[in-house]
């Protein structure tokens, strides 16, 4: 259960670690000293470190607050948090509800109010919160949620690219993405991501195969849209040269398989830890 509740911290640490490794690879492989690029990657490293430290600080502050709840309140709080965590609320909504609930419970505890008189039926309370907030998300929330996913995917692409350079692997993992391509890819994904996420959120309680299909649909649909746009741009001779995300189709399929495996592992761990 501790691993499950620390997953955001672990994920933040992992992304920060990968960003730092990415920046280090860049410094190791670059021959020229370009001041602006050096500054950019120094900022990337600093950002990664700050992101991780901030997540760590927030986590510790949260754990300190929870430790102030007595046994009855803590038990009910954990039950409600588990229910809303597995619901279709956005991570932002879940965060706000958890924070509100914790503060209200601490306040009620200070007034010597029993947890039963504070919350009543836990199931009904959780359902009413989910019903009050559930439903259509704003476009902005979709974009923020999807961009987090996209950043992870792009980091993986660049990570594979740098790994290929360092270890001189065959072109199996050939993953080349120029910064111009990255920008266009991001702009395309700002449209494709919310479209797919809106379908994903509506099917979050649906069949596993549907969820997997939608989950993998984000990179597939985004890359295909990106490639189509590049072809269209090249066909009207505005842009010279080639811009692709993956030179090798096998590398792309491998990345998708890894995402698929990661999704299954994440889902299995979440279910297993919640059942404990």
């Amino acid at each position: 259960m501790k691993l499950y509740h620390n997953r955001k911290l672990i994920l933040s640490g992992l992304i920060s670690f990968m960003l730092v490794i990415l920046a280090l690879f860049y410094f190791l492989t670059q021959q020229s000293t370009n001041t602006s690029e050096t500054i950019l990657f120094t900022c990337v490293i600093l950002f990664a470190v700050v992101m991780f430290l901030y997540s760590f600080y927030q986590r510790k502050r949260y754990e300190r607050s929870i430790s102030m709840l007595n046994a009855d309140y803590k038990e009910v709080y954990t039950l409600v948090v588990d229910k809303i965590t597995t619901s279709n609320l956005t991570s932002l909504e879940r965060h706000h509800v958890k924070e509100d609930l914790l503060n209200m419970m601490l306040d009620a505890q200070n007034r010597d109010e029993s947890v039963q008189s504070f919350i009543g039926n836990v199931d009904e309370f959780s359902k009413s919160i989910i019903n009050a907030l559930g439903g259509n998300m704003s476009l902005l929330i979709y974009e923020i949620t999807g961009l987090q996913y996209l950043i992870g995917f792009i980091i993986f692409v660049k990570f594979a690219d740098n790994l290929n350079q360092i270890r001189s692997l065959s072109d199996y993992f050939d993953a080349t993405i120029s910064y111009k391509s990255l920008l266009l890819f991001t702009l395309v994904s700002l449209i494709t991501i919310p479209l797919i996420f809106s379908i994903y959120k509506k099917n979050v309680e649906g069949k596993l195969i549907t969820q997997i299909g939608i989950f993998l649909g984000i990179p597939i649909f985004s890359v295909l849209s990106f490639e189509l746009i590049v072809l269209l741009i090249n066909s009207v001779e505005f842009n010279q040269g080639q811009s692709v995300v993956f030179d090798s189709i096998y590398g792309f399929i491998t990345a998708l398989l890894l995402l698929f495996v990661g999704f299954i592992i994440k889902r299995s761990i979440s279910k297993h830890l919640l059942q404990q």
């Binding site: 509800v97 509100d100 503060n103 209200m104 306040d107 009620a108 008189s117 919160i129 009050a132």
Partner: protein
Amino acid sequence: MSKNSQMLKGILEGCILKIISMKETYGYELVESLNDGGFKGMTEGSVYPLLLRLEKKGFIHSVKKPSPLGPKRKYYFLTPLGHEELSDFLLGWSHLKVTIDYFIEKEAL
């Protein structure tokens, strides 16, 4: 949800908007006002989802302020949209009250 629950929910939301329109308030204080007004048995657990719904609709807004007892409290206040909604509710309620009173007081059709 039964029809009575639906009706009560609508009335409760209107009353909550009215209470908040009178002064900025937080969850427990709101529950006390509702209990004093006759809605016995209200708890923060039953009011909080209603407040979430009202905030999502844009009728109320919240700010966190320090509290003397320790954790920060969420104070709610009415938005301009909330004032419009409250006016609509009060108008609708006054019409409904007149209609219901008419049938209650009528001795024969």
